[in-house]
Symmetry: C2
Subunit: 345 residues, 2 copies
């Protein structure tokens, strides 16, 4: 079968790999019908040292179950399923609490022996804990929106939930990538009244307005944070969602949050240390929350609004390609010519 | 009148200063009957550059109102009152939300024109917002416990509240100073089931046990965090209260907290940057909260249990002195010979 391999920064190839097979009785093999390229894939695409790969790529997918191990009971051959961006056993203490990203048996697609989703097929460990059956056909027009339940919409939702967004909230969202835009949609869905979207790519911020942003702020850094405060009686917003992961984005979040408010991070941090001392967080009683989104725990909650068409998170996909087009898709996203690339292997 | 002045690290003097007077119609002048030395006073006592002072010291006090400005309505001459460790107007948006430490007119005792509480008297700005009348006499045996409402007990309570302690919680408290011990008491009062106290000063940790600690851990650093995990099925506790303020204490908190849990800081951070990236907080979905405690907002809630004797937070005072003994009191606390010094000017 064919799959996407990253050999180093800027070096993505489609190559033949061994067919996916059942290795454990809890596995399923899924033929991928829809996958995508994630903003987080752009970090290794920009920085991965040559020679450290190749790595199997892709962690968001929908597909048709081809085969199941002897212990799998919740899905069967022929089912259309969606997978979260991490697999999880569904039974451990963390999974039962909804923190599937901390599953004691969980893991990341594309790491170690685990396959990637930008491929014709994928082996799914802990299929019962991981996969969710979809009540539509593989060619449904809802597929792009359902695919966002894998990661980007669930991640935006996690940001809003952890940030404490409720009816009437005032929220700043930093970042006009797919996660930032879907954090806008999630905050709107949870009742936020004021949503300030910080981004400078007009086609994206226009989609942000469609998703519910009440104001768009193109300025960055101190100037951007000052603009947030200008719009909020000098105080900042009670919730700031940081959906980039860079250190400047974190600093912008600190500058934009109201005293006593919450910074909720879902951009994968590209830094380890950052200011959390007396002036930045402590004296102001600012909370720092968020993290890797346990999207598996949100799929059942978010799916009905996608199925009934009341929200359409799939609008973040602006390019569609087959497997051969994946390397070009990485380039387009890295050059910010595409917001998010849908892959139909 | 006489007051405590710090001239530099290790250099505390009792000197004559101008008498406290009403400067604004919202002021009160209070004759101090009970004050104390705070663990946070030990940071400048250890580090204050010579020549940068003198600074007026003391931010916790009980006293008798001697005089009030023309606009003060809630207290009058002769009232016994307690003051929080910051003054606040009681009317701004932040005060109404209970975040009195962010009061738009608030400020810190001993900074700028503001007087300190380790003195015979003190001018109190925004007396109506700041002071709370006490229903006891100045010589009541409850005075030490009521004095902890100024700062240390309210701060321990803030740590527990922000940490999300509720009935059945599992909590680690880092630090056996007055705030750490009173965080134990606060967590116990809020229903925590398991309270692991990290400290190595036996007289203090014994008091911690009396306040509700279910286990004492003398080990520090990685070894201490490992001990917490050993006691919690390898996972750490869902709440970690960090009541020291040093960088090693923060690192210990990161190592002791359960995935998906909360680190609540109330030790004044002596660092600005610290690890908050992928491995420390983000992938594990660990929340970072706490901050400068708005103790004014907690006084009415905490006072009844002190008045009816069901809790006795004043046990943190192990030395009592008059003003002349204050410099020796600083030394005793810095040498860890005293846990907390009560000052009766």
């Amino acid at each position: 079968m064919r799959a996407t391999l990253m050999y180093g920064a800027g070096d993505v190839r489609i190559e033949n790999v061994p067919d996916s097979v059942i290795a454990q009785p809890t596995d399923a093999v899924v033929r991928v019908t829809a996958a995508c390229i994630c903003g987080s894939d752009l970090w290794p695409y920009g920085q991965m040292p040559a020679g450290s790969g190749p790595a199997r790529m892709g962690h968001e997918f929908i597909g048709i179950v081809e085969e199941t191990g002897s212990e799998v009971t919740s899905v069967r051959k022929g089912d259309l399923v969606v997978s979260p961006w991490v697999f999880s056993d569904g039974t451990c203490e963390y999974c039962q609490e909804g923190l599937t990203t901390s599953c004691v048996h969980g893991g990341l697609w594309g790491y170690g022996p685990h396959e990637g989703a930008q491929a014709e097929a994928i082996r799914v460990p802990y299929a019962d804990g991981t996969l969710v059956k979809l009540p539509v056909a593989a060619d449904s027009a809802l597929i792009p929106s359902l695919l966002t339940l894998s990661d980007v919409f669930g991640t935006g939702h996690h940001a809003a939930v952890r940030g404490g967004v409720t009816a009437g909230s005032s929220v700043t969202v930093i970042g006009d990538g797919a996660v930032g835009l879907l954090a806008v949609l999630a905050a709107k869905r949870l009742g936020a009244q004021e949503i300030l979207l910080m981004g400078r790519h007009e086609a994206r911020t226009d989609l942000g307005r469609e998703f519910g942003a009440t104001e768009v702020i193109a300025a960055r850094g101190d100037e951007g944070a000052e603009r947030v405060r200008e719009l909020t009686s000098g105080q900042g917003t009670s919730v700031v969602i940081e959906a980039v992961g860079s250190r400047p984005a974190y600093d912008q979040a600190v500058g934009s949050v109201r005293n006593g408010g919450t910074i909720s991070r879902v951009g994968v941090p590209q830094y380890e240390e950052a200011p959390i001392g007396l002036g930045s967080l402590f004296f102001r009683n600012v909370r720092l929350t968020g993290g890797a989104a346990p999207t598996r725990a949100y799929i059942n909650e978010l799916m009905p609004a996608v199925l009934d068409g009341s929200i359409d998170p799939g609008k973040v996909f602006d390019v569609s390609t087959d497997l051969d087009g994946v390397p070009a898709g990485y380039r387009q996203m890295a050059d910010r010519k595409s917001l998010k690339v849908l892959v139909r292997p």
